[in-house]
């Protein structure tokens, strides 16, 4: 099964929206619209722990493993989509 960057970005935006509703409901990020260009740190003000928690959700959803070095280069949903596709193809 292969994933397109666009479709993966849409799915990741859904997963992130769900994560924010559950974990950040009382912050401005809780109701923010998520797009492929959304930057998790500068736009949503997520701290490093929240980004890590969200990544664990993504790993479980796609049944992939993302190493910490790859994580350090991810800022936007689009960046994450590229990493997810690479990890899935590996």
């Amino acid at each position: 099964m292969t994933f397109s960057t666009e479709a993966t970005g849409v799915k990741l935006a859904e997963i992130l929206s769900e994560y924010l509703k559950t974990n950040c409901a009382d912050t401005p990020a809780g109701n923010r619209e998520i797009t492929a260009a959304t930057n998790m740190v500068s736009d949503l003000q997520l701290d490093s722990f929240q980004v890590m928690e969200f990544m664990l959700e993504v790993e479980d959803h796609y049944d992939i493993a993302i190493d910490m070095e790859s994580l350090s280069n991810i800022q936007t949903i689009q960046d994450l989509a590229a990493v997810v596709i690479t990890a899935h193809n590996d």
């Binding site: 490093s48 722990f49 664990l56 993302i66």
Partner: protein, 389 residues
Amino acid sequence: MSLFDKFDAALQLKEGLADIGKDPTDVVFDSLISATEGIVKGRRTILAGTNNYLGLTFDKDCIAAGVAALESQGTGTTGSRMANGSYAAHGALEAELADFFQCDHAMVFSTGFTANLGVLTALLGKGDVVLLDADAHASLYDGCQMSGADIFRFKHNDVKSLERRLERLKDRASRCLIVVEGMYSVLGDCAPLAEFVELKERFGARLLVDEAHSVGVYGEHGCGVAELQGVLDKVDFIVGTFSKSLGAMGGFCASRHDVLGLFRYISRPFMFTASPSPAVMATTREALRQLRTRPELRQTLWENASRLYNGLQELGFELGPEISPVVAVRCKDRQSALANWNKLLEAGIYVNMMLPPATPGGASFLRCSISAAHTPNQITKIIKTFAEL
């Protein structure tokens, strides 16, 4: 953009803390009265945030051992063991630790942080894999990152999450080190080590357990959570510190594997750090002797822990998941944690403040650590002061 711009965030944090009252990162104990009391800003203050679990920092025999070592061997070793040689006490403590953990090898480091850096960078390299508990201590993260191994995290204390990641590794599982803690320092919750051992054996991986907060606290002989759960002989590497139950400073690794004896030739944090001083070795050895011969210390510690946990629970505070010598009180947000921490200090109670992102779930906590040396009256006062928040 300048070299110093990155400090803007730290400056904001510092100013934000100062606006609330006393900066929790800048508490000064003007003097110490005992293992559980000190003077802060001229006020007698109960120390309920020191990780001094067995209360041995003022033990007369530990102090006498330290004084004797200072007088007979001087103030410091002035260099690393590789360059300057070892003192007899270094080897003696290593033998005593190996005996304590019922394994063949032990190695002493200058701090607990250095122990983790030293062990992980010696054990791991490029091409190896680490599966790291997401809530692991910063020293474990840093050691793994320094090693060059591929690092994957799994959900905190989640056996299924670890199992899924081991399955994904396939053949690489045999080059995998699972890295966890015994008791986690923020909430006082324990790892399911027996289940982790079953997984590491099934997949051919290795297991390292950091028992920094659990040595002297858990297990029939005080060896930690691995002993409590009956898997002490199955854990590949145990790391820990002398700075908590043993009341001194330094770190160690114990293992049944012969390779530990080779770490001293390749572990840079070991090779290029001054070795622990004679006084530190002496007080640690005496504290370890007491840990082994005075089980009543552990019994008192647990009685005190239960008293505090139950007292705060009855008041309606949301606490960590199990009774332990770490009692973490969840606060509704960062501001209330800061305000209540200041109120406690003003009332003569010192606890730790734990703020995100260094906390599980991004929550804010007032963290108490209890000691065998706390008196019932002191614990009653801590509970009463919390009730008045």
